[in-house]
């Protein structure tokens, strides 16, 4: 599997933590309550490995928010939580008790906004760090197993997934989620270039 140097790895972790920190601040303003987020772990994995981590083998249901980013490098980004956790997040954010077992139309939209904030912040931190631009689409909500969701971009796809673990804290609750960036070989090289530009910027 593809590997970054220790320096590149640390740079990415730093950029993503900066990004989710901004997302947490934006979410705190919405709920008027402290929200904190961090990225403790990043790794390059195959699509099958990520799906396995998400419990695809056991048929575990995931809620996902997907966005396309194009420009300095092209990627499809997913924010994913187990379905019951996304219900809990929306509950905590909205502050009302939902009796339903799945997200209704309005809750799906709320979840999409949460995903939109997090993914935009991550990629925004990225763009600012390297001074190169990315264009981001609107978020789309999906539900299904990790396999279903990551398979949306087609079976023929043979790239690598940049997988992030996200720790999400709201009202003393700790919730773990995942962010996945699907990268084909070209995107992977562009990403590496991107990180190198960032590191070069730091040492200037």
């Amino acid at each position: 599997m593809f590997k970054l140097s220790a320096l590149q790895h640390d740079a990415l972790v730093e950029i993503f933590n900066l990004g989710v920190g901004q997302a947490a601040a934006a979410m705190s303003r919405i709920v008027k309550e402290e929200v904190t987020m961090s990225v403790p772990l990043i790794a390059f994995q195959s699509r099958a490995q990520v799906a396995q981590t998400l419990g695809s083998g056991e048929g575990r249901r995931i809620s996902a928010v997907a966005q396309q980013f194009v420009g300095a490098f092209n990627t499809e980004a997913f924010l994913m939580f187990p379905e019951e956790k996304s219900l809990e997040i929306v509950r905590l954010m909205v502050g009302q008790s939902l009796t339903m077992e799945e997200l209704g139309e309005m809750e799906q939209e709320a979840m999409s906004e949460i995903g939109n904030i997090i993914l935009n912040s991550c990629m925004g931190a990225f763009a600012n760090a390297s001074g190169r631009e990315l264009q981001g689409s609107l978020p789309i909500y999906h539900a299904g197993t990790g396999d279903d969701i990551l398979g949306l971009s087609g079976k023929e796809w043979d790239g690598v997934v940049l997988a992030l673990k996200i720790d999400f804290n709201i009202e003393k609750r700790h919730i773990h989620g995942h962010v996945a960036f699907l990268l084909d070989m070209t995107a992977l090289q562009d990403l590496q270039q991107y990180v190198d530009d960032y590191l070069a910027g730091l040492t200037k």
Binding site: A26, G104, E105, M106, E113, N116, I117, P139
Partner: protein, 322 residues
């Protein structure tokens, strides 16, 4: 195929049932369609050329404003949902609502917009989601209503409090008619608050489900009923059962719970989850009520707690034949 004429596009912009605002790189309003004129109660002539902050001073640095900046600077699109952002724009369904300051429910999309030969613009689309919001509210009310009519406890799968009340009422009348004894057990899981505090609510829920299943497996007759009374309390209705019979059932249940060996490191005097039992038996006369039966079982349960938990106590009804 040729591009549609600007005249046609203009007509479409006027006709669509969506609010369309376009801002230039300096956040000045360059497009303001008919829908938004109507619902903001502001004609285009009043706002064109003004900045977002001038027109919407109440929204400066709010979520929508941040999204506009992000579209213009970072080229990112944003969704601003009705659920998390209650009516960000001062838009109204009609003049009467405007007078009452009752805002329309909105879903907002903010998108970067490329314009030839000019710096990037930003498109703000606003949809009226009042219908969806009221439909969801109705659905939620119906779900709550349905839940109130159900007879099964959602967590444990055994009878719920409502079923218990109905069943006890029926059996009480029957016992009075047949002059037969009716017994009630009240059961409370010992030190359950400490269990929840140390193991978390999810394991607390799982613990209650295991206990409910164990209790439910003890009685065999069709009119015996094991119900979740509330929180960590359970109740058992035993028709045609005298004190001795009720004691036997209670003891079997107490043993069944202890035999589950559910670890509880913070219990007062046991290492595993246990429960206390109060037994009350009545042969109802004309004057007696279910309240007396429940009250008796509650008193006995209280005594069982005082006696050190994990035991069965019986309430003696005055003047009762049982």
């Amino acid at each position: 195929m040729a591009d549609p004429s600007p005249y046609l596009l203009n007509s479409v912009l006027k006709a669509v049932r969506v609010g369309v605002i376009v801002l230039d790189a300096g956040q000045r309003i360059v497009l303001w369609n008919r829908w938004i004129e109507q619902h903001a109660c502001l004609p285009a002539t009043d706002v064109l050329g003004k900045t977002f902050a001038d027109v919407f001073p109440g929204m400066v640095d709010g979520r929508t404003h941040v999204a506009i900046r992000s579209a213009l600077l970072n080229n990112f699109a944003s969704l601003i949902s009705q659920t998390l952002n209650k009516a960000p724009f001062p838009l109204y369904a009609n003049p009467a609502d405007a007078a009452d300051d009752a805002r329309m429910q909105q879903a907002v999309h903010v998108m970067p917009l490329d314009v030839p030969d000019l710096p990037r613009h930003c498109l703000v689309q606003i949809g009226d989601v009042s219908m969806s919001v009221s439909r969801e509210r109705k659905l939620r009310e119906m779900a709550v209503e349905l839940e109130s009519q159900t007879l099964v406890d959602g967590l444990t799968g055994i009878a719920n409090r409502r079923r218990f009340d109905l069943h006890l009422e029926g059996e009480f009348r029957r016992a009075r008619r047949n002059v037969s004894p009716l017994s009630l057990l009240m059961i409370d899981v010992d030190d359950f608050k400490a269990y929840n505090d140390s193991y978390g609510h999810q394991r607390g829920d799982a613990c209650l489900a295991r206990i409910a299943a164990a209790l439910d497996a003890v009685p065999h007759r069709p009119r015996d009923l094991v119900a979740r009374y509330g929180g960590e309390e359970f109740a058992v209705v035993l028709p045609d059962t005298d004190v001795e019979g009720a004691l036997q059932v209670a003891e079997a249940m107490r043993t069944a719970i202890a035999a589950l060996l559910l670890e509880h490191a913070h219990a007062g005097n046991a290492r595993h989850v246990t429960a206390s039992f109060g037994v009350s038996t009545l042969t109802p006369g004309q004057e007696s009520t279910t309240g007396a039966l429940i009250h008796g079982a509650d008193r006995a349960l209280y005594q069982a707690k005082r006696a050190g938990r994990n035991c069965v106590m019986v309430h003696a009804h005055e003047g009762s034949s049982a």
